[in-house]
């Protein structure tokens, strides 16, 4: 494997000169540079980023920590789209991406900062962490630059990107209200997600704005899974037959609620309107197709990566970014 030493020898100059030439410094004779470049190409040289990282104390590497990237959880491709966005931005800006995963127990033994420091990543993006995840506390305590996705914690070295979940939920509920619904249920996600609190807030605000009473009995938890949401839906529909619409804090849960409606003998959307959240891939294909609040998952990742790199290159401080949502009207609500 060719090193700058080899090039130096072949060109009859010092390694310093080679390093300078290769890195585009101005203080090297144009002739020498050309010669060095030629030889480098001839010898099929690639720089050793390990060596470079060691001396520069920068690896041009971003770590991404995703929870729940395992056999069962690929049902919504939320994670994948975020990852695609991160990947796109990172490669545009000439960084590399290393994937940490927290699926195995093995890695739980390592602390967050251990994970990061071992790999000498310049910064980290966290996605899918629960609000009570032990890693999270560490993130804030450590001074490793970090962007969180959908977790509103910020400091000198940590920022986050999220969507406007309050407004998103509001949009969904307002849409139902405008269609004449008065008794609107909510199947929310679990409490360990920040977005759950926000979406609950949006739900309540929309009702209040319209002069409707918030009824705690109409609110159930679906734990972000299809199965739990189905149970929650069944419960809600049985105990409160006056419900004509249910807003779900995720599409997957909306799918579960629709199942429960069918089981109870209600047709969607004729007898029960259902609105989801996320606009996952399945939303357009399920029957009926899901009316939902879309969020741009690719952008979530892309912007997180972009802000992180800005931060690393000192182009900006830790940023807080909020993306917009959009109501997608399909056929599950009317």
């Amino acid at each position: 494997m060719t090193t700058i030493k080899d090039i130096a020898k072949a060109a009859g100059v010092s390694v310093t000169t080679v390093s300078r030439a290769l890195n585009g410094y101005s203080d090297v004779n144009e002739k020498t540079r050309r010669k060095i470049m030629d030889i480098a190409k001839q010898l099929n040289y690639s720089p050793n980023t390990l060596a470079r990282g060691l001396v520069m104390k920068k690896s041009r590497t971003i770590g991404m920590l995703v929870s729940g990237m395992n056999r069962v959880s690929s049902k919504d491709n939320f994670t994948f789209e975020v990852l695609s966005g991160v990947n796109e931005c990172i490669s545009e800006r000439d960084y590399d991406l290393v994937l940490f995963s927290t699926t195995t127990t093995k890695q739980r033994e390592k602390t967050y900062s251990q994970l990061c420091r071992e790999r000498r990543v310049d910064g980290v993006i966290l996605q899918g962490m629960k609000i009570d995840d032990p890693y999270l506390k560490e993130v804030v305590e450590s001074d490793i630059p970090c962007m969180l996705i959908d977790i509103p914690i910020s400091s000198k070295s940590v920022g986050y990107v999220t969507t406007d979940n309050v407004l998103g939920a509001k949009r969904a509920v307002r849409h139902l209200i405008q269609s004449g619904h008065k008794n609107i249920g909510l199947v929310n996600g679990h409490d360990q997600a920040y977005v759950s609190k926000q979406r609950l807030k949006g739900y309540m605000e929309a009702l209040q704005e319209a002069g409707l009473q918030v009824n705690g009995q109409y609110i159930a938890s679906g734990d972000f899974t299809e199965e739990k949401a189905e149970e929650a839906g069944t419960m809600l529909l049985k105990e409160h037959p006056e419900l004509t619409a249910i807003f779900c804090a995720s599409d997957l849960m909306a799918l579960g609620v629709i199942k429960s409606a069918k089981a109870v003998g209600l047709s969607v959307p004729e007898q029960l309107s259902v609105i989801g959240y996320d606009n996952i891939l399945l939303a357009a294909y399920s029957s009926p197709p899901l009316t939902t609040i879309a969020q741009n998952k690719f952008d979530l990742g892309y912007k997180a990566a972009n802000a992180l790199i800005d931060m690393l290159e000192e182009k900006s401080d830790a940023q807080v970014i909020t993306l917009e949502t959009e109501l997608i009207i399909r056929e599950s609500a009317k």
Copy 2:
């Protein structure tokens, strides 16, 4: 950031001893070891993998090269499931995963081996490459250990994992034949995929086994996309109204064909049976739910990673692994 030097100083020993203690060598006094370990923990030490990699010439890092991981392509989560499998195995065996992406033009400028050597990955997994991808030739020429997914190239340093695509396609077509179909169309993927050739072969063999004529007119290309498949389906159905079944070489294409059937006024499965391939997430949710040939995408990734690491650790030579498929009967064919 703590280094072994700091530990050495604190423990009153040499860095050599610290290194040996930390790496579990036997030739270090138990007392000294304990002392060193304690201090390391106290100082919150993490080894610098860059430095280690530099001297060891091993990074314990696997690169994964995926093509088409971008904004539009997240429609089938094939890639994501493979990635999840790779990730799972890699973290179990205590390696790290770096993601190369070939989406941007920028990286096309770098050759495959440049990409790998710069990052000093110990091995690579390639997924989603077309058969005429320029990278592919390099893979074989270079001696970087590599596992391919769904591309049957092997050598001393490269192996692959794939499913039995001939048999898979056969299973689909046999199922149709058993249901009484005689005029069976094929919407295949593009020619740049190895699997296309295999699935075509399976299609033909199944027909021949049953004593049915292969009719070239019944075969069209859907280019692995929903849109192209819809066009192909429309063409096929208009020109050959005698077709009662179409086998599609991917689920996404099956979705397209079903659309075309609806457009032409044919109901699925009453008037046209459709079978897909892959068993992607959507398959179970589309209407009608897709009868399809399932392949275990997670395992595809997991096994590739596992074989690669075996190879790196010299537990085995480059392997060739073939996974089984399974016919999943749903409602799009009868």
